[in-house]
Subunit: 137 residues, 3 copies
């Protein structure tokens, strides 16, 4: 069981950041060949997803989340908390903070057009630390 | 590999129940310091999520799911089954029954404002048993 | 840590394929009694979910995804790529490619009315290979 952290900065507002290479680099460091790895966001306004990281689709995805969960909608959280980021929280809860990915021969078993992304749902720029937990042999 | 069960009762209709302390107590019992734990709902009308458990946001979340999946919408399942809880199933499928969380130094690596919740999507009160599977060293 | 692959064909367009028995057969092959298994889609237009596999609810679920993410919506990806399947990608990203399920006494700890499904979000028939990774004792 190995624990790694990857770090990067984001701009906020549904920005989709590709992190496949960063995750893969930690898998190489682990020296393990077969197992599972869990990518986890320690926070309530970001999510881990997979997608084809094609520029048009990245735009579509960001627009999609903005349409699905309105930024302002008389949210109670926006009255209670000065962060006023209820929509960030709702989007993150919907998507989830955790993704478990299998690997074999020291390579993640992703599809050809499948990349790992962090989606920054917070309404401001953030410094993020994402946990990568690797188990295997 | 250790298997635990946590039990509680719910009221139904998108009630959001915080279970962080219950999960944490099982992790303490395991005696493990580094690993992953999977929280799993054995059922098709509940889900596991993480969120900031702030009362306003809890209300926003419950309202959000009721808006996203209408309670009544000429569902075939509501004709076929007397439970008439198609919307409960759709909400649960969308959110998912499983969440994997890493831990280190015997503590879950959650964010400061990130709690674990069970969302009761069924349309009635239920007695729930949630499975906690812990693997590590 | 054991690696299995299950294979099947799909018709596309939100078709929901029940795979519980196929996953269970791999678990039997593993010979393990207690642990977790991860079901993973290596691709960006399919998802793994659990649901009650009742025919009416299957229809409701397929309709639900078609309503939630419109097939055509001036997507940039549909201009950039001749596959024109942006809606397939958005639905798959929303649902996620990975599900981790605990097992005990060599049986998955699913609820009585909870089956595992693959949802084919692509807009055409596909031959699918789904990865089953099993860890335990």
């Amino acid at each position: 069981m190995l624990n790694f952290v990857i770090k990067f900065s984001t701009n906020g507002n549904c920005q989709t950041v590709e992190i496949t290479d960063k995750v893969s680099a930690e898998l190489q460091k682990s020296g393990l060949s077969s197992g599972i790895l869990t990518v986890f966001v320690p926070g309530s306004t970001g999510a881990i997803a997979t997608m084809e990281y094609e520029p048009g689709l990245v735009e579509d995805t960001e627009k999609y989340f903005k349409d699905l969960v309105k930024e302002k909608n008389a949210y109670k959280h926006d009255i209670n908390c000065k962060t006023a980021n209820a929509s960030s929280h709702l989007r993150a809860t919907l998507m989830g903070p955790s993704l478990t990915i299998p690997f074999e021969n020291s390579k993640m078993q992703l599809g050809t057009w499948q990349q790992i992304t962090f989606i920054e749902f917070d309404n401001r720029s953030r410094d993020r630390e994402i946990i990568i937990k690797i188990i295997g042999q």
